[in-house]
Amino acid sequence: MAVDVETVVKIAAYAGGGMAMGFGAIGAAIGEGYTAARANLAISRNPKISGEIFKNMLVGQAVAESASIFALVIAILLLFLDVPVPSLLKASALLAAGISMGFGAIGSGVGSGYPGGEACFGIAKQPEIASQLTTNMLIGSAVCQTPAIFSMVVALMLMFIEFGNAPLYPTWAAYLGAGLSMGLAAIGSGYGGGLAAGASCEGISRHPKTAASVTTIMLVGQAVSQTPSIFGLLISFILMFKSFPESTSLSAAMALLAAGICMGFGGIGPGIGNGMAAEGAVRWVARNVEHAGDLMRIMLVGQAVSQSTAIYAMVVSLVLIFVV
């Protein structure tokens, strides 16, 4: 059976769309379930304000849903995309777009469930500061979405930018690597950012006067947790926009693919670890606000150490791209 280029592009687009939505559905569902579970607990503690808690649960779940909505947008675009000039390179780019978005939505989806749940529970404990908790929840979950937004950007770039006449070998591997690097690296960062945001909602409900410092340290902690996904973004930009010399040997292509895989998997752990460090710092700033400065410094040093593994992964990826 002979398969022409147009069919291959279609196959890649469908496969990519399926992966984007399939994987993208995992995270948000888990996160929303967690929010609902905490909301149930909250209502059983304080049934009088069940309406308030229910409202907050729905708002939190709506924000947590956004990662999978990004995945849905990418999936639909891939299914109905019109490719003007079909080529094998485009096929690889479309598949990579689906991979990037699918994996990239997992972490943010799970993560942004935490602030929603903790905010519901906090409202049960402190009904007077409900609006403050909702605001903090919205900020926290919006920042959690950043890794998913990065994945979506990489996916859209892979789909719509015309990369010109790059040689098919080894550029196809570079595109797949770009998708894997961004998608996988976004998992840890999204989840880690969620841990920090959840702890901040819990902390504010425990000690509402510390809200300003808690929100500040939450943002810094989340920002540092996102660093591994930013390394993933960097590697995937390099893989997309650097022009590679044509070579038919398989090793050159595999080096580029391996660079993406290395950065992608290497970013998962540091993202979660940084999030845990941020969670601890945020939780304890709320209880001991006089020592916020010390806590923040220790958090940053701890995160820098936990991040070093992401830096090793980035160094290996760069060596694979530029040296091998």
């Binding site: 675009l77 900020i139 950043t146 937004i149 719509f160 943002l219 810094v220 660093t227 916020a292």
Partner: protein, 224 residues
Amino acid sequence: MGELGKLHQLIIPFFGHTITLNLEVIVMTWIVFTMLIILGLFAGRKKKILPGPIQAFGELIVSMLYGLTEDALGKERAKTYGPLVCALFMFLLLSNWLGIIPHLEEPTKDLNTTLGLGIMGFVIAHYAGIKSKGFKAYIKEYFQPIFFMMPLNLIGELAKIVSISFRLFGNIMGGSIIILVVSSLTYSVVLPPFLYAFFGLFVGTIQAFVFTMLTIVYISVQVR
């Protein structure tokens, strides 16, 4: 969606090399400068004990940012770095908000802007570190915990520039790409205003704050 990934560039040949200028970004940056200077002039022109609305707004921002700087760096250093922090935050805030005005684009959408600001923060932080600890102690830090960790510590420091500048760039550019794609899919009906409110105003404010906070934090890690 043809405009994705296209830039207006001025390429000047210069003794065998070429200098590339991103014209739009330069113009937009100057627009932000002008707006900031006008805001500053209005806020500080007629100073009264009972402040007018613009003066009150200016005082609110300045006192909030000075408070944040004092928390991280202490009272003495906040006097040195407070103005920098205020200027940085206001510039980033207006830059990120500029995209909601039709035909104008965020200067922070360009990696050159954010990378420049990131390098500026890095240089200032390390200058502050050398000044407060002395050169010897500063160099010694790179050889912690063992001497052969030096290259990795160095890369770790440089990675800070990458992470701070790509974070802002990725968020702002990501927002504008998403708005562009969604607008062209829905023929600019209904959805784009909400997306502008979310990505332009909300994410823009948060990211400006995060960038500013991280610059302060990098300084505070170096000086102690």
